[in-house]
Symmetry: C2
Subunit: 502 residues, 2 copies
């Protein structure tokens, strides 16, 4: 198969043609959530972004093994300094729960929200706490290679030593000297920093203080793994020491992904990942949204509208549409206006899709208008071109809006459907459905409640009949309507602005 997909590789800072290591197969690793709180809008973006990538790779006939981890141990409060409490252990302590109860609660919630957002489930969802042995093995390997050292039961990665033969900063573009200079002040003050040979060193294994509840035996005593380690270990275990694509949010690029590269090269000498992809952030008034920043809105709150910053509820598909309307490498700023616009856009497109799928083409094999025909054929090609151009969902949606306008024009007889040949019309319809439903993964939320939609329509009819009956003083009919609706527990209310019901 001739792949035309180009991916912006954060490592080379260029768009590169995607070539899998094993023809026909793709290994995809995406950093999953740290399950110590309700998933928020900041979680929606990476998982929707890489879901579309997964769907498109699958559409092209590639067999994708999609690994997305669950971080249930090791993510410290201040990861850069390597200090603070484990995030899950802290939550457990605050809520007087066993840490794994915290993990279970928020893993369940995360799964539920991902299902609602119509993200396909990954092939493997490994947990950090489920791979302690493998993490210990990798630490042993890095120590054996002379690139890590043990102090007081903790093991740190020796960044300076690594940098002698490698380039710490190759992914993030950070300059090691600057990092060291910048961290100088902190180094002297922060507990945990004192053990390090250098402030830029990071923990592979942390000694557990007696009160630390998540703990395992290791060659260095009782402790727990550093956060960066799990992704190196689990990606290597399930995808191999070098695999195709690693995705995640741009906030993970440094230090998390930089450290992943260092760990993998430090252990195996091999480059772990061929293509690094990073989605940009969702901001609120220009600031990153995140649990640790305290300015986040959970997905539950979006779906219910129950948050002081929200003017209304926004459905899962509104959120998905909102996110896909931007290219994944652009920032997206949250606002009610933007989400309301996305909701309108989503509804317009769903309606157009239903219109399009109901249109009846007269069957002419030759186009009535060669220009219109050529334009549609070009549009269909462009949809794939946009996906091949670093998964440009924003441009795909723009093309689908074009098709929507066409569908509406044919429906309203503002344009003649026979301007297209049957085969081109069929192709346009097929591509629309493929792009919208299968690749962008947008679900028609209205079909779930089609009974409700029809009920609205029939009720309008009934209210109309009742009005006429009352005007004609046909009390039999109007009483019958009132009584029947009462039995169905439907109340109608006559007000200034007409009759309403609930």
């Amino acid at each position: 198969m001739d792949l035309k997909l180009k991916i912006h590789n954060s490592l080379s800072k260029k768009k590169e043609l995607f070539t899998p290591i094993n023809p026909g197969f793709v290994g995809l690793y995406v950093c999953g959530p740290t399950v110590y709180g309700e998933p928020h809008l900041g979680h929606a973006r990476p998982y929707i972004t890489f879901d579309v990538l997964y769907r498109y790779l699958d559409h092209m006939g590639l067999k994708v093994r999609y690994v997305r981890n669950i971080t249930d141990v090791g993510h410290l409060e201040d990861e850069l300094a390597g200090t603070g409490e484990d995030k899950i252990a802290k939550k457990a302590r605050l809520e007087k729960l066993e840490p794994m109860e915290v993990v279970q609660t928020y893993t369940n919630s995360f799964h539920d929200k991902m299902d609602m957002l119509n993200n396909k489930r990954p092939s493997i969802e490994p947990r950090a706490s489920g791979h302690i042995i493998e993490q210990i093995e990798m630490v042993k390997q890095i120590i054996a290679n002379g690139l890590a050292y043990e102090v007081n039961g903790s093991v740190y990665f020796d960044v300076m030593k690594y940098h002698e033969d490698h380039n710490y900063g190759e992914l993030s573009g950070r300059i090691l000297e600057d990092l060291i200079a910048g961290a100088g002040e902190e180094r002297r003050t922060l507990e945990g920093q004192k053990e390090k040979r250098n402030s830029v060193d990071f923990a592979l294994w942390k000694n557990a203080s007696p009160e630390h509840i998540m703990r395992w035996p290791s060659p260095w005593g009782i402790g727990f793994p550093g956060w960066h380690l799990e992704c190196s270990v689990m990606s290597a275990k399930y995808l191999g020491e070098t695999f195709d694509i690693h995705g995640g949010g741009m906030d993970l690029l440094f230090p998390h992904h930089e450290c992943e590269i260092a760990q993998a090269k430090g252990a195996t000498g091999k480059n772990p990942v061929n293509y690094w992809m990073h989605n940009n952030m969702i901001t609120i008034n220009g600031k990153k949204m995140g649990k640790s920043l305290g300015n986040f809105i959970t997905l539950s709150e979006f779906f219910s509208g129950d948050h002081k910053s929200l003017e209304q509820a926004y459905s899962p598909m509104t959120i998905r549409f909102f996110i896909l309307q931007a290219h994944y490498r652009s920032t997206v700023d949250f606002s009610n206006e933007a989400l309301q616009a996305a909701e309108k856009g989503y509804n317009r497109m769903v309606n157009a899709k239903n219109t399009l799928n109901k249109l009846v083409h007269p069957g002419n094999e030759k186009a009535g208008n060669e220009n219109a025909e050529a334009a549609i054929l070009a549009l269909c090609e462009r949809c794939f071109d946009h996906l091949n151009d670093d998964i440009n969902t924003a441009q795909v949606l723009a093309e689908l809006f074009e098709v929507s306008s066409k569908a509406n024009a044919y429906q309203n007889k503002q344009a003649d459907i026979a301007e297209l040949s049957l085969s081109t019309f069929d192709k346009m319809r097929k591509i629309f459905n493929l792009m919208f439903t299968d690749i962008l993964g947008i679900r028609d939320e209205s079909t779930a409640d089609q009974g409700g939609e029809k009920l609205d329509g029939v009720m309008n009819l009934v209210i109309d009949i009742r009005k006429s009956a009352r005007e004609k003083k046909d009390w039999d009919t109007s009483d019958k309507i009132r009584d029947s609706l009462n039995e169905l527990e439907i109340n109608i209310k006559d007000g200034k602005e007409g009759t309403t019901w609930n």
Copy 2:
């Protein structure tokens, strides 16, 4: 709080008053599925059974930590002999997948089906593969206590040695001498048996042959844990070395649970579990249903009706009702007739519940009929008595059928609702809802489609109005109805047997 719950303890073979170790808290462990295939009817029973126990304990104000594991490694094909391939590794080999892909697929499916059956999610759902270190630690402890031995990189539990100071067979009632005599023939022939000192010994750790894909380093070389070990380890980790209740299917009583006791006592010297509960089996024509037996029907097949033995689809709540209509320690034999009866019973009870909740009591504070009043008050008490009597859901449902008949009689004026005082009527209604919805966990499946139900009602009204209009030659109204319905894509059809619509 004064607990009156009696539990049939498989260990004493008696009903015993339940007294938790820590007042107000309950530790509950239930053996979860081995995720190498679609969940089947045999899975529905234990998880519904212990879900009702969980709900009732919760109702009584106890704080329950409910741990249910996922077996994703170590369950051999022939567990009794300790031979054969790992079940998940075999499935992975057959399907050319990484074992953890098999695990992910069937764990997802299991979760989906449990949600559909309205089983509450456990507090913690630990995986065997996520607790290898803890399992190795327990094996080391048992070896240190002289109750296990290593041969060729595998470690076996020394049952004879254990039996010197303990009673192997205390749970199952098996006589060790009989077990040894019975296994004598096998012992000489089965590979893997040769390493054991005695045929009744069981594996704590298995040496992994080079082609075995699930493998971890251990003090005894590369291998994987024995199946029985995980439950001992994970229950102790999350519930303590001695905890309150351990549940599971009767098929797990021997050897699995017998071995759990031996492992725990062998490691800590302590009795691990105060109350052992075992649900009986679902049979097909008197035979146990099970994946390894090849005669199982998956839950998906029940829900779709797509299986040669099924005459129709059966909804999740029909399955739940069917299972709860028997006491959990009785066998239940599957047949279409039995499920159809359960479906009828379920529908009857849901309708009665809706009737009951709509009934309007006149408000008399004194009962019109003292006998009726006393009978209902006694019935309400009996619901709790039945639950306290080893969770007798069958008897609770029988009482709820009584209430259903009452509700229908009041509705049809065959009995006078004023025979009950207002407070007793309210109590009856409250208890019915508590038992049906909260404790038995039965969901009203029709409410999911309430839009549809109301639409039916309103359409009947519209068809009625149209008929009258036509009789009155009021063509304006009948035309308006026809046109409006056409717009809504609702077609009405006049036939011999009246007017229908779709």
